[in-house]
């Protein structure tokens, strides 16, 4: 799903751009900070992204994929308890 080279597509390339939102900058920085602390490396981040269910992978925006991966890897490593982030969000 992540291995897209030559994937058949009729979609034109949407050239509109958006400035990164605060939460996107924050997500990027969180990954960097976690990397610096040796908690998650870029290969784990990519593996986490690649583990997304295909429909979620295609639907998610770029940093939504990062966030998914970070949560998955941190839960895998026991840094986060399962559902802990949901609980913090009041769900």
């Amino acid at each position: 799903m992540h291995d897209r080279g030559g994937w058949p597509t009729d979609a034109p390339i949407d050239r509109s751009e958006h400035e990164l939102a605060d939460w996107e900058l924050l997500t990027d920085a969180l990954v960097g900070a976690l990397g610096r602390q040796g908690v998650i490396n870029v290969d784990q981040l990519r593996r986490g992204i690649e583990s997304m269910p295909p429909n979620e992978y295609e639907r998610a925006s770029y940093y939504e994929r990062w966030l998914y991966s970070v949560e998955a890897i941190l839960t895998e490593k026991g840094v986060l308890a399962p559902g802990e982030l949901d609980a913090r969000l009041g769900r």
């Binding site: 390339i13 939102a21 939504e64 009041g90």
Partner: protein, 216 residues
């Protein structure tokens, strides 16, 4: 932001236009800082670094290479070292490779597997670079992609697409525009666009009349 007690659950404050991910990212930061996994100051510094990145740095490398052939050779041999020579931050990637467009060869860069990009020198990648259609067609239909971007290469030009699949980040040195003689390095750098350093565009053309057009 005020401190709060542990165990106190709170409804996230969200702007209606934000995706759910926004509150999720903020809550994640809170949790990780509370747990002592990361420091808030480190996060702030990283955000500051990200917003400081722009294609102007890459453009300076290109402009210097255009006016100084020996610098260009150093840039081609080791782009990280060349960036440091100009006081620029080449970023955390261990290797940056600059590739040169010529009359015979045009380069274009993609990361089909994710979005690898020399962001220290170019700023964050544009959405289209990270998009599924670009990642797909940049390798299977690169001339079609270039046509969409308004670039038509001559028949005798060899197109080389670089897929950044590992630790190397690639930067394209576009061709110096004809009729740019006499321009200062700073003026030349202003012609070097981000897209020309990805390889989906040519640099901007000098204003008609060159330097003289700036007078009056």
């Amino acid at each position: 932001m005020s401190d709060h007690d542990h165990g106190h659950s709170h409804t996230p404050i969200t702007n209606g236009d934000e995706p759910a991910a926004a509150a999720r990212a903020r809550a994640l930061e809170e949790l990780l800082v509370e747990k002592g996994v990361i420091g808030r100051e480190d996060v702030r510094q990283r955000i500051d670094w990200l917003v400081s990145r722009s294609p102007a740095d890459g453009a300076r490398l290109v402009a210097r290479a255009w006016v100084d052939p020996e610098f260009k050779e150093r840039l081609l041999a080791d782009a990280r070292a060349a960036a440091l020579e100009l006081g620029l931050d080449p970023g955390p990637s261990p290797v940056v490779v600059a590739v040169e467009n010529t009359q015979a060869v045009h380069h274009m860069v993609v990361c089909t597997l994710c979005s690898c990009y020399p962001k220290a020198l170019l700023g964050p990648p544009p959405d289209w670079y990270k998009s599924l259609p670009y990642r797909s067609r940049a390798v299977s239909d690169p001339r079609g992609v270039l046509t969409e971007f308004g670039v038509e290469l001559d028949d005798d030009v060899e197109l080389r697409v670089l897929d950044s699949t590992a630790d190397i980040r690639y930067l394209v040195i576009p061709r110096r525009p004809t009729s740019s003689e006499g321009m200062s390095e700073e003026e030349l750098a202003a012609l070097v666009t981000r897209d020309s350093m990805i390889g989906v565009a040519q640099p901007a053309a000098p204003a008609p009349g060159g330097v003289l057009s700036r007078q009056g």
